[in-house]
């Protein structure tokens, strides 16, 4: 029985270099953090030799000439890791996902397919290179020995049975990945190599470090064996399709999406699962950007124009591919990508399928799938940001609201919690000060022109209506968000207006809110000090 281990040194850096081959052979340091604060989190040997230290600020690292600074890419790391697993699976069906930077594989029975173990190791190293990774490969009869040898020795290492202890002896104990506390103890003892650790008496070591001591001692001697923990496939169901030419029309795209969704749903069904969300990722053509349709919100920046991602969150787990396709189509129609699509990646988040049993006395609620479809259609019409349940945010900014996702009421249980209008036989009245006229906010707020006399509005006109101010109350001043670029200051006035007899409403947008031939009314106007203009906030009933 033989095992091979593949280890990618400087994995974080290699993952990035793999995506940008021009960096190969150069000093590279990776920075990570939250902008504007970046610090160095990884660097290859060349960069370290140039003086780069982990933890340096990006600005400081940039002062080192000849060192390429790149942001850390967890996406690339994931892909590189997947590639590493693929590398294992390309040779053996029995692969262990040992760590992000290393995999181990069982070579039993592969000789007849790929030749000797040395040849297999060479083949793995070559393939790794083809995958854009420089890897250490070690082969040994013992799985742990193979893993540690790959971590410790560069290139290809073959450890014949019986030589494990001797060969591992020169490696630092760190390759055994001991717990930090144990490593500290070993450091304190001056035990820095596997050889030194192996030389310690096992019994006395166990008195001091317990089972962990025995484990490490065996590992250092190459005497500990274990079986392979087989890697499992990713729990995310992913399907992708790279296209030779960019697709710019919705119909052919829908056809391709349908195929992918069919496959996804079939796989989900095979494992008795359904999708609770579908993530779509489109690589776009960047050389000749061309819009499919004019979107309401155009993605900004380079990364946004080369990759386009959407998440279709579902209210209940689904695996009806037709329904999913329809939802995806509506989503794409509502906000299409800005350029032709070169690659499609669809990933389904699995969940247990919905089990529902209708109660005889429960009220009918809308079918969640249909409701979702309706909401998606509406979103397509009015835009994502304009559909949902309105909520008042905690701010002084007048008229401010946000929309949150709409959820239908959850049946009778919730209704019972509502306060009854009649309690103890007495009718509740709203607290003092809450009574008053209803107020209708105009959205968007129509501009107005206001004539002032000694700072007070005297005559107004808006939406084709004109009139004199018969009573005014104000100004009511609010200002805020002074630390943001959209700081505001409004002076509001409540105005009673007597409209001219010839006054006629012209705007169609406020048809339901404004009378066609008004006589008088109570309105709220405001002066936007930043814009230097007057607007009508709304009308009192």
């Amino acid at each position: 029985m033989a095992f091979a281990s593949i280890y990618v040194p400087d994995f974080l850096v290699q993952a990035v270099v793999r995506a940008e081959p021009a960096l190969r052979g150069r000093a590279v340091a990776l920075v990570d953090g939250t902008p504007p604060l970046w610090s160095v989190v990884a660097a290859n040997e060349a960069a370290l030799q140039a003086g780069i230290e982990l933890g340096l600020a990006k600005a400081q690292a940039e002062q080192f000439r000849g060192v390429e600074i790149r942001p850390r890419s967890q996406g690339q790391e994931k892909i590189a890791h997947a590639a590493l697993l693929d590398l294992g699976w390309s040779v053996s069906p029995r692969v262990e996902d040992t760590a992000p930077d290393s995999v181990a594989l069982d070579l039993a029975g592969l000789n007849s397919l790929f030749g000797s173990e040395e040849e297999i190791a060479r083949r793995l190293a070559q393939r790794a290179s083809g995958f854009g990774l420089i890897a250490h490969v070690a082969v040994a009869a013992n799985l742990e020995v193979a893993i540690h040898a790959a971590r410790g020795f560069p290139g290809i290492t073959l450890i014949p049975p019986g030589e494990e202890s001797e060969r591992l002896g020169s490696l630092p104990v760190g390759v055994l990945s001991p717990a930090a506390e144990v490593l500290e103890t070993l450091e304190r003892w001056g035990v820095r190599t596997c050889g030194a650790l192996a030389a310690l008496p096992a019994l006395e070591l166990s008195e001091r470090l317990g089972q962990e001591g025995i484990r490490l001692h065996e590992l250092a001697r190459g005497a500990r064996s274990r079986s392979l923990a087989l890697a499992e496939a990713d729990p995310i169901f992913e399907e992708e399709m790279a296209l030779e030419y960019g697709v710019a029309e919705l119909e052919p795209l829908a056809f391709l999406l349908g195929r992918l969704l069919d496959q996804l749903c079939a796989r989900l069904a095979a494992r008795s699962l359904a999708a609770i969300a579908v993530r779509s990722r489109f690589d776009l053509e960047t050389r000749f950007p061309k819009k499919i349709r004019r979107g309401k919100k155009e993605p900004r920046g380079e990364s946004a124009s080369s990759v386009y991602e959407k998440v279709l969150a579902l209210p209940v787990p689904m695996r009806n591919s037709k329904m999913l396709l329809q939802l995806l189509r509506l989503q794409l129609q509502a906000s299409p990508p800005a350029a032709p699509i070169l690659k499609i990646v669809l990933a389904a988040e699995p969940a247990r399928p919905r089990t529902a049993q209708g109660g005889l006395f429960l009220p009918c609620s809308p079918d969640p799938e249909k409701l979702e479809l309706t909401i998606a259609r509406l979103a397509n019409l009015v835009g994502d940001a304009n559909i949902g349940s309105p909520e008042l945010p905690d701010t002084h900014r007048p008229g401010e609201f946000r929309t949150s996702r709409f959820f239908p009421p959850r049946g009778t249980a919730d209704r019972r919690k509502e306060e009854p209008a009649v309690a103890n036989g007495e009718l509740r009245v709203p607290p003092a000060g809450r009574q008053g006229n209803g107020f209708r906010i105009f959205r968007p707020t129509p501009p107005a022109s206001v004539a002032l006399h000694e700072g007070h509005p005297m005559r107004v006109s808006f939406c084709g209506l004109r009139g004199d101010v018969t009573a005014a109350s104000g100004p009511w001043r609010t200002s805020g968000d002074w630390w943001r670029e959209d700081a505001w200051q409004h002076d509001e006035w409540d105005l009673e207006i007597h409209f001219d007899s010839s006054s006629r409403r012209r705007e169609k947008t406020l048809r339901s809110l404004l009378p066609r031939e008004p006589q008088h009314g109570l309105y709220r106007f405001y002066y936007d000090s930043v814009a230097g203009k007057w607007f009508v906030r709304g009308a009192y009933d």
Binding site: T34, L37, A57, R188, G190, R477, W483
Partner: protein, 1074 residues
């Protein structure tokens, strides 16, 4: 005319955004004749408003917003002195029964203490608004009716505020209705929280800090608009044009408020004297006793001079009725003496022969011809200021508690220390408010104020760029602006380190008291300066590390040498001391140990005590910026003739060779050349004293120029004199203060020269203090022949102690210093105490025995001790195998001893049958530890462990291991440098023990490099610093190449190249950024 009668300042701590002075300035700009300051639960800002108001002829009304049990606040204005007394009493009571920053007033307290106070119904946080919100107009009416009952009908005003807010206007209408119904006057106010509109941003930021929110999440906690600023009277009249009586009433009410802080009613307590004797009589008697003991040994002429001086001083004291004050300070000093607490007066008190005779100070002002008027003068009309230095720590606390006990809880209190926003705290908190990430905040906070000196490239832009921040970004720009705005605004109230105020009657009728964070302490709401401004006498009981060192040294000398050293009777002009000073061999000596002092000592070459006084005073930013150091030294060395800016100054400056070095000289100069009166000179001194003095200094400068012009002083001489005075604004020592410090410097030097072991142990036991790290102190003592022994649990106590040297230790001092367990990093004091206690019963026979008998000891502590070799000698020097035990042997054992055996084995380990037996049993004889299979630590590993575990090594200096190799590389040792001629190209290397970039050195950086032979100094030019910033700042060991400067025995290397030196991984510490 509208008068603002409801304003908060930043002394409402995060609820107001302007300082009282700024409010006063804006009032003056607006032509408003008065202003009422109502801060939250206190009169914190009152003295500052009072002083600012005096200047601009503004009337400063006082009051406070006092918190009720329900959380709303009574806005109260002080009408009379009785009202002020009541307000202070109310606030004190509510504060003292609650935790810090909490507390509320009770209605019954209000009922008893509302006389002389006028209550407003308040704005949105006032009682009326809360009642209206709770129960509408009926509850509102009831609330105002209750206020009338509490304060009296004539003392309640219905307050109206207009900030363009609908809800507020609705409240105003209800308030008007109530006022009409109850026939109460209405009063317009603006509920001011900041002086100018733009400060609304600071107020919002403060709101976020107070509520632990960010601007993005604070929502409606933030202000609705920026209307709560001090508005022009015309603007307020326009706002209340429909209610002119509300505006008119402000003027009327203002005229009712007669109380100001000039009428504080403070009295210093009387000292209890025997019946029939007056305080003055008693003081005379005590002073006469002191005269004979202090001056008894003088010759007749000097004695007579002293007697006359004392009589003159007593006459002034009598005239000013200050006998009680001197007696009270004398009483504190007596308490300290009786309880063996070292005490010495410093500051201007050292100018007084009476203080010297009473034993308050230790400097003889008659012998030194010090100016008494600097301490006390008839025309100044303010209390004298006596500062007492005490050993820091418990001893000082005993003295403080004595004062509390003697004058009662409400008779004495500490002065406050108003903690204000500074660069770092402002950056951190404003950054948080703007939602910056914690790492960014750390980086920003580190950026601010790292070096004292800022060169032209240290612009904000560059600092931000270094931190990866773009100043063009609006948010970052806003961050910068806010940081600047909040500078110097109060953050919270702390406690001054030693300032105590004492009062004859109840102190809480003069200023509100509140609990300090430290249990048992009470603080007043005013800081030291405010107390002085208000004429409240204070005594500073200051903790001084060196006093503790001296006290400990004397104790050790008493116990170990069997000698009694009296600091008051040290042999004067001890040649060994002066020789050490002239050689700048002053590590550890008080005030004369810094690099700058060391580089001055060989040039000044002190020969007598007065030279030490000059030495202490000369290396200060004042003389340095005033370019007085070099002229003085040149004149002293005879290289420059002594001349005076003006012949009339000769009598004043003759003692310091024509160069002004002390504050007193500056004052006398002003009196002579510009005809300043004593009072004006005193004003000049006070302007030099504090930070808020720039404007005052400018005013005084004009006056000086005018005076000098009148006296016909030439413009060049004028400029020279002004420059001298201006530079003293940044710290200059008074001569008496320098003399007091010089005494301590001499005492520390004497003890170091004659009792090195005791002095070193005491220094090590009082760290952190002084200029050097313990590692440097130890190495310095070792170079002088002291043997320093490592920490050893078989004989080390918690503090460092002295051990008799055994005969084989050879010649040298009689004692060695044994490092104490306090230097074992990670070892808790209580565990160390247990170790020492158990060891006293019987020695530990093994690590297991130690672990068993000191069960509280943790594995990490055992490991820490083993790693530094402190457990090597348990059960003798040799292990079971008969070979010398090394640290790794012990580490090997510790790991076993620290691992708890299972219950079965644990039971087997002790052969006891009952719980009682088990409790008293020791483990069966410990299994003799077999030799460990581990290799001994190398020298390098021991060094690393020593520095990591104790911050020092008692073994060879890290560089000693590399001397041969360094010699090959042409690297000189520190001791070789003085023998080399000036201008020699040299290479030196060492552990960086200090990095300095003083504000006075124009960007030069000074490095102190220590090797096994001593300390070498290197000077880094601004150009080299800019080029090799990282190398200068980071590595622990440096190699410096450059030209040697060896002039007047002052030796340093002017660096031209600097590079890191890789000699050890040991992490030595450096004292940086001073």
């Amino acid at each position: 005319m509208y008068i603002e009668l409801h304003a908060r300042s930043a002394f409402s701590f995060l609820e107001g955004a302007s300082l009282p002075e700024e409010l006063a300035d804006v009032c003056a700009e607006h032509g408003m004749p008065a202003l009422a300051l109502l801060d939250r639960d206190g009169v914190y800002g009152a003295p500052r408003l009072h002083l600012a108001a005096k200047k601009s002829s503004l009337q400063a009304h006082l009051g406070a917003e006092v918190t009720s049990a329900a959380g709303w606040r009574y806005p109260m204005l002080v009408e009379s002195r009785a009202g002020y007394r009541n307000l202070c009493g109310l606030i004190t009571r509510m504060k003292l029964r609650a935790r810090k920053n909490e507390g509320h007033v009770l209605p019954e307290e209000l009922a008893a203490g509302a006389a002389g106070l006028i209550c407003l119904t308040g704005g949105e946080e006032g009682p009326l608004a809360q009642a209206l919100a709770r129960g509408g107009i009926e509850a509102g009416t009831e609330c105002v009716r209750k206020l009338c009952e509490l304060f009296g009908r004539g003392n309640v005003y219905v307050e109206l505020q207009r900030h363009f807010c609908r809800a507020e206007e609705a409240r105003n209408q209800a308030a008007l209705e109530i006022a009409r119904k109850l026939s109460l006057p209405v009063l317009a106010t603006n509920g001011v929280r900041h002086a100018r509109p733009r400060q609304r941003e600071v107020l919002d930021a403060f709101t976020c800090i107070r509520h632990h929110r960010t601007l993005a999440t604070a929502g409606r906690l933030l202000t609705r608009n920026a209307e709560r600023h001090l508005k022009l009277p015309a603007e307020m009249e326009r706002l209340f044009s429909d209610l002119p009586e509300a505006v008119a009433n402000t003027e009327m009410l203002s005229s009712r408020l007669q109380f100001t802080l000039s009428d504080l009613g403070y009295q210093f307590p009387k000292y209890p004297v025997p019946e029939g004797a007056s305080q003055m009589h008693f003081l005379r008697a005590r002073t006469r006793e002191g005269l004979s003991s202090r001056y008894g040994s003088y010759n007749e002429a000097d004695y007579e001079r002293a007697r006359k001086q004392i009589e003159r001083e007593l006459a002034v004291i009598d005239k000013l009725d200050l006998a009680g004050y001197f007696l009270i300070v004398w009483d504190i000093v007596c308490f300290c003496r009786e309880h063996n607490i070292l005490v010495q007066g410093r500051g201007s008190a050292a100018n007084s022969a009476v203080c010297y005779a009473l034993g308050i100070t230790a400097v003889d002002p008659v012998g030194m011809e010090l100016l008494f008027e600097r301490f006390l003068s008839e025309e100044r009309g303010e209390w004298p200021d006596i500062d007492l230095d005490l050993p820091s720590g418990d001893q000082r606390e005993r003295a403080i508690q004595y004062v509390y006990e003697r004058y009662g809880k409400l008779g004495a209190a500490m002065t406050a220390n108003v903690i204000t926003y500074r660069g770092r705290s402002a950056a951190r908190e404003i950054g948080k408010v703007l939602s910056f990430e914690p790492e960014t905040l750390d980086r920003l906070a580190r950026l601010v104020g790292a070096w004292e000196y800022k060169d032209a490239d240290d612009t904000l832009d560059r600092q931000f760029r270094d931190a990866g921040l773009d100043l063009r970004h609006p948010l970052i720009r806003k961050f910068f602006e806010l940081c600047r705005e909040v500078q110097d605004l109060p953050r919270h109230l702390g406690q001054h380190s030693g300032g105590m105020v004492i009062c004859q009657g109840q102190l809480d009728s003069v200023v509100p008291l509140e609990p300090a964070s430290m249990p048992g302490r009470v603080v007043v709401q005013w800081d030291k300066e405010d107390c002085a401004d208000m004429g409240i006498v204070k005594v500073d009981l200051l903790g001084l590390g060196m006093m503790a060192v001296l006290e400990d040294s004397l104790q050790i000398i008493r116990e170990r040498y069997g000698q009694e050293v009296d600091l008051g009777r040290l042999p004067p002009n001890d040649p060994v001391v002066y020789e050490a000073l002239r050689k700048a061999d002053t590590v550890g000596m008080f005030q004369i140990e810094s690099r700058a002092q060391m580089s001055c000592l060989p040039r000044l070459r002190p020969k007598c005590f007065y030279d030490i006084v000059v030495q202490v005073a000369i290396i200060r930013p004042g003389p340095i910026v005033g370019k007085m150091v070099n002229p003085y030294l040149r004149r002293r060395q005879g290289r420059e003739s002594v001349h005076y800016s003006h012949p009339s100054l000769e009598p004043v400056l003759a003692r310091t060779l024509g160069v002004p070095l002390f504050q007193e000289q500056l004052l006398r100069m002003a009196m002579i050349v510009a005809g300043f009166s004593g009072g004006e000179a005193e004003e000049l001194r006070r302007a030099m004293g504090f930070k808020r003095s720039e404007a005052r200094m400018k005013e005084i400068e004009k006056k000086l120029r005018r005076g000098m012009g009148k006296n016909g002083i030439a413009p060049a001489a004028q400029e020279e004199i002004i420059q001298s005075i201006r530079s003293f604004a940044l710290y200059g020592f008074p001569e008496s203060h320098a003399a007091s410090f010089a005494l301590l410097a001499y005492a520390s030097a004497y003890l170091k020269c004659h009792y090195l072991a005791a002095f070193t142990a005491a220094m090590l036991n009082n760290q952190p203090m002084g200029f050097y790290q313990p590692a440097t102190l130890v190495k310095d003592a070792q170079r002088r022949g002291l043997k320093v022994k490592p920490i050893d649990v078989t004989c080390s106590d918690w503090p460092c102690t002295l051990e008799n040297l055994s005969p084989q230790d050879g010649d040298g001092p009689d004692f060695a210093v044994r490092l104490g367990l306090r230097y074992a990093k990670g070892l808790r004091a209580e565990v160390a105490a247990e170790i020492v206690g158990e060891r006293a019963l019987r020695p530990f026979v093994s690590i297991e025995d130690l672990k068993f008998r000191v069960p509280a000891i943790q594995k990490s502590e055992l490991t820490a001790l083993a790693e530094i070799g402190a457990l090597n000698f348990i059960a003798g020097k040799r292990g079971a195998a008969g070979r010398t035990r090394h640290r790794r042997d012990v580490l090997w054992q510790v790991e076993r001893a620290a691992r708890r055996p299972g219950p079965l084995l644990e039971a087997a380990g002790t052969s006891c049958e009952s719980d009682e037996e088990c409790a008293s049993a020791t483990p069966t004889a410990p299994t003799p530890a077999a030799a460990s299979p581990l290799l001994p630590m190398t020298a390098e590993e021991r060094l690393v462990a020593d520095f990591r575990g104790t911050g020092m090594t008692v073994g060879p200096h890290p560089l000693a291991y590399h001397r041969a190799e360094m010699k090959r590389q042409g690297i000189r040792s520190a001791s070789e440098l003085p023998g080399l001629p000036d201008g020699t190209w040299v290479r030196v290397a060492g552990a960086v023990i200090a990095r300095q970039r003083p504000g006075t050195a124009k960007g030069f950086v000074f490095l102190s490099l220590e090797d096994e032979t001593g300390i070498a100094n290197a000077i880094i030019t601004p150009r080299l610093f800019a080029k090799d910033h990282g190398v200068v700042v980071r590595p622990s060991f440096l190699l410096v190449e450059g030209r040697l400067q060896n002039q007047d025995n002052v030796v340093s290397v002017k660096a031209e190249r600097v590079r890191p030196l890789s000699v050890t991984r040991a992490e030595t510490a450096s004292h940086d950024f001073h």
